[in-house]
Symmetry: D2
Subunit: 436 residues, 4 copies
């Protein structure tokens, strides 16, 4: 049976010198990197929505991408799309995909019909998964596109909407469980506000906390062992979203008793929209014990919205990969290419080029991080900088064995005060660049 | 004895129609506003540093402001400055000021000498306070200007710097206590990083948590009943500061067992640098129970650094004042004009104009908020929006009496799903504008 | 015949104290302001696209607004829409509207059919204009939504697209002429690039210059006496647009011999996206002699995309209105509310509230500017600051009667150099606030 | 005679595999790149101000860098500094430096004394230049640090300040001529405004235009054959600077008859502050015929001020170098490292590391650009995209042989309209990454 992507070549590893535009130059699934297969470090996934639903629409223009499943009977189109998706995944050779319920099957007139439709198309998806061996990195429910969610899902001023969202999440969580998904993600695109004039922050925080607890309780009830992940984003579509960044989500999880249960899915472009570097968010999540999974993409440094471009600068990304490696990897998380081809990229092969580039950039960044870690000089320089804190005086302070009086007495006895030492930023940047 | 500001007029309330540029048009200390004197709502303060130390220096230019105490014997100059400061405060008629140790007295060769110098000038300050009846809203230690702090104070890689900072804070906290200060503030201008390449986030978080706990422990030991306040700022001077915004500080306080002990001092320009509106940060802190005090100023919406300008748009500020009023006021916090005159504002009277404008803008914003609250339509519209959550179904959800299965059953029984209702943003904005 | 908006009340002027949410509090068309009717200063217009085509779609969500003309036979729907639009305009009582060809009538299979469809619906529009007396502020061709324009219209790498765009503009320019339009606008939403990797800036500049010259030549040929306006925007939808801001457009017009022929239509939110204040762009255009017309709206200071909200802060806007008044008004330009209701504002009355708020904010800002100008103190302060340039020495310099040697000799003779004078920013801000 | 930098090693080319932190890995002055020596493409320069005057001061902290010439007799210190500077330049091995008058010698009590002081230290500089063979890329006058310039130099409201600035520029232009400088730069850090309330844009534009014409006239009078360069920057220190970006400067030059006489010195961090990529500004200047010289540095993508960091990402920079190569190089311009070491980089060797990193990043980027050009695929893809414009129809349009009627007739005859073609962005990005 033929598919839209049949004419695309199968992508293979060709090595750094390959000039075939369909060859991978750095992503070599089985290559050993710091004791693990490269594929295990990356656990790369294709995003069903951007890759198979995205149509080139933007706020000022109509769709530009043409796919056979964009017209015709919706349920038949959903099946055609699923088959094409797996044909694409096979050509690309990645181990995972991710989906929202509404990417896979169209919403029905009622919730029950929507569930039934999803289940029917997921039967096809499941068969394709078995046929190809491709797994599910995570599933998620789309709680942002339908007008009923325009004022929030869990944080909606109407509890009926909360219930509707709860039903939808229950179904997709169970479907994710059935498909052996490794994680379940919640992105709160409408959990925020457009104006404080109509918003009660305390009320909405209580709702959001309750909602997430419901999901965690249900996960345990059904025996789902995947991780529940919250995906931070500061704004867009709303003026202000509650899951702003990693530190904000940490505070939220702490407040609602969810530490230890919920982690974060960090997206590069969401990090930069929030005023952080990607590596900052990864390092922060690792330090706070909530690093879960990554959404790989990049923003445009000159544009103030979520451009969701494929990563293309391995040097930039190497610092993020270094933090992943320092954290010991992502566990059952992975790296989902939550990125979309540009509106002008209208040929089927553009979708393949985009993923090849994103994947190679990520793999190359991992190889750079490997060299950084193996060389050890960066880690050593950092450790030496804090050496004093491993000495008795530093340990006494951290252990609470010195109060303010004791510290003041110590400092006053020391006279003119400690001498500053160089932060060596430029030398370290040069060192980091040596591994490119 | 004559002072630099002697030629400036004494500022008096003249009413909205006053055209005298030295008259206050809206700030009328004794006017009753929602059951309290205006002065009690605002508890306004002058910032010693910007107003008496600021010299017009910027990264591309030399000082432009001339003050007699900018030259001569440093200790004598510090006394002259203190006397001039109170002469200015008297002309302006505000009840409070705020200071850093290094604003008041120059650092000595040793910590002990620095302490002694501070104490000597604070004797003068204390006498002026008694003479004038002007109080101290808060004190703070400057842990950011000296080279020893270039890599952080509490988060410095060298524990000797931590100890030095501890000694300095201890001294200023005690001095603040002695002067009857209502609060003590910590602003972590160097508690952050310039590059992740030399930074260990987990280590620095542990240091910062320990430091703040030390301060809280000492506060109780000495019987200081003021509030300990952390002042969020996302960046500048460092690339990234740990106390990024209110939500980030909340998570930090939670992690280190400091909720209930420490609140936030929110600055308008810091809020906007972090990507928030001022009212968002106030409402968030109120919802999280950590609203402490405010630093009044504004940024420039076209510039990406801390411009610290005096507030001048009462409509903008009215939404922030509304949140203060909704929160029941700031308790022992207040509103400190952490704002500086422009580099070109070189005349002594410019300093007075700046404070008159900032104070009047704030007072006018409070009066707008008063009308909003008295009218009640804004509050009613908000309450009605969430009415469903006060019904049994909403209450059952929030109280945890419904699990995901029960919610799903409810939603599935409901059929096509809830109908969206208008968010009425434009109507509410029009309503809010009616009170200007 | 009944219309969608029939249940909305007719908006009337009620004065500043009016509490009816459908009353205008400041916009009083016939009120004399500095020698002209308020309506003549504002020449306010409703934007056909946002108000009658906008459906609440955003990049993460489906349409939320329901209008009868969003379904059914497209040509019949276009007529229904036109009739409803004029019913709305009548209730609002504004003298003008603005349109893109594609707002009014759906595109056909061929260019000829598209033209014919537009002409047919414009017959209805023309009849409504005659019936109501409402005029056309400007027309424009949509050269950005259709996939053919995805890589630009005039700047497309394919000259066939250039020709197609030329045909479309010719037709809409002629239609604008037929309807008595006061101006014709070109907004280059796709005249820019997504990546420099596929872009030849010099080539595209030549194309864009030729295109605009063609339009100007044709305008004269057909006797259209309206102004040709370019609308600056820095980005969005593309990464980078050529008509970035007023100064950039000035350079472009100069390079292609179009000064004196083409002016700018300045939009507030486009100004802020480009890093300017609205008043800066107006003052710059006035200084450069290319101030044409205004698109009234506002952005969100915390969001980095074009939010196109209705203006709601009269103090902010008063500085823009001051520049309009200083420029002597907009001539045959006007103030088009290029603003859209929020996605959650789903009731028909929300559209009316939005326009009432925008109009009242603008009118109030004009009244503030009137007081500023009548008082004269702001203008005097500015004039006095430059007084030296009206003296012989200043005049000699500007007239080129002193060369560098003469100036150096003058300065060296002067000794220590000129003394700085206060810029008085805070005093002037206080003064400006007095007129609110 | 010994110098502060004597203990630093001499930097030598060691090749890509070198691990000595003081070895250059990519900058190999004599290596032939596309027919020229690498040194000729780069013409690299050290910035006297950042490297020898910068002291680590920031808006929140005191100086951290210690140099022997920061204290003692100012004139003697200036000589010590000059000798140290050349010792540093020799170790680094670059062919050029750049200076402001006030970097080299302290200002005197009068203009005449300032001139005399500068001349005296420039005698030392000149001797060092002769001794070392190091040349002057450009000189410039500091018209922004002194309080007299706080409200502008050429655009000051006081014509006496204009005259003072004119005298200063005359002297430095002549000094630059005497030292064989290849260019003369004007950066208008104070040519802008802090508030429109006290600003007359038209007046200040006339002043700035006159000033630049005076400089050009004088250049010809004295026979200086270097290029006069304006350096765009959008803001900082002022709220808004007139020389915002390349396109704005183009318009200014055009308006004041200066095209052909004046070009631009483009700084990377100024480009990004203005919302542009560095490569955009270079490509724009090349397209407009005003590409002069480059200031090499980078900003921090998360910070909104001029961080002036040394470039460290060769992939990013390769697109800028590609535009330089496409433009045929910079002529008598060059690449000045207008970058400063971080405040924490307090060791003398940090200054050397910084320059090594910046230089190597730039050289590596040039080598990437060389491969891009030699391969040709990127250039071919771009040329093919516009192929239609080299055909008769495209040529007819550009040559003005078709009017709007003719184009419309052509388009109408074509039926359904042109088909869009893929922009191939991801494929081109992958291709570009292949050369890293």
């Amino acid at each position: 049976m033929s598919s839209f992507f049949d004419n695309l070549p199968v992508v293979r590893y060709g090595g750094p010198e390959a000039t075939d535009p369909f060859a991978l130059r750095f992503y070599d699934a089985g290559r050993m990197v710091l004791g693990r297969r490269m594929e295990e470090w990356l656990r790369p996934a294709v995003a069903y929505w951007h890759s198979f639903v995205g149509n080139g629409l933007d706020p000022f223009g109509a769709p530009t991408h043409e796919r056979p499943w964009f017209s015709g009977d919706p349920m038949q189109a959903a099946v055609t799309k699923a088959e094409a998706a797996f044909a694409f995944l096979e050509r690309l050779g990645l181990p995972f995909f991710c989906f929202h319920d509404r990417d896979v099957a169209p919403e029905g007139e009622t919730l029950r019909e929507s569930h039934a439709r999803l289940d029917r198309v997921l039967d096809v998806v499941e068969a394709q998964m078995q046929r190809t061996g491709i797994g599910l990195l995570w599933g998620t429910a789309n709680l942002f596109s339908h007008p009923r969610y325009m004022a929030g899902a869990a944080t909606n001023p109407d509890p009926e909407v909360f219930a509707f969202a709860a039903a939808q999440v229950k179904h997709v969580l169970e479907a994710t469980h059935r498909l052996g998904g490794a994680n379940y993600v919640l992105w709160g695109g409408r959990e925020g506000y457009d104006t404080l004039l109509n918003t009660d922050l305390r009320q909405e925080d209580a709702q959001l906390g309750r909602f997430l607890n419901l999901v965690v309780e249900h996960k345990h009830r059904i025996g789902f062992t995947g991780t529940i992940l919250v995906e931070p984003k500061p704004m867009e579509p709303t003026k202000h979203q509650y899951d702003r960044d990693v530190a904000t989500v940490y505070g939220f999880l702490s407040r609602h008793g969810l530490l230890g249960e919920v982690k974060v899915n960090i997206e590069a472009n969401h990090a930069t929209l929030a005023g952080h570097s990607f590596e900052h968010e990864i390092a922060t999540a690792a330090a706070l014990g909530i690093l879960g999974s990554l959404d790989m993409n990049r923003g445009d440094p000159q544009n103030g919205w979520d451009t969701d471009q494929f990563p293309n600068n391995a040097q930039d990304l190497s610092l993020a990969m270094l933090e992943v490696v320092r954290a010991g990897g992502l566990g059952q998380g992975g790296m989902n290419f939550d990125a979309k081809i540009r509106r002008q990229s209208i040929e089927p092969e553009d979708l393949l080029h985009a993923h090849i580039g994103g994947l190679d950039t990520t793999a190359r960044a991992l190889l750079i991080a490997e060299r950084m870690v193996q060389d050890g000089a960066l880690d050593r320089a950092r450790a030496e900088r804090y050496a004093g804190w491993r000495q008795p005086f530093g340990q006494d302070i951290l252990a609470g064995r010195m109060d303010l009086d004791a510290l003041a007495a110590h400092a006053e006895a020391a006279g003119a005060g400690p001498k500053p030492r160089s932060g060596r930023q430029e030398a370290l940047e040069n060192l980091a660049a040596r591994f490119i």
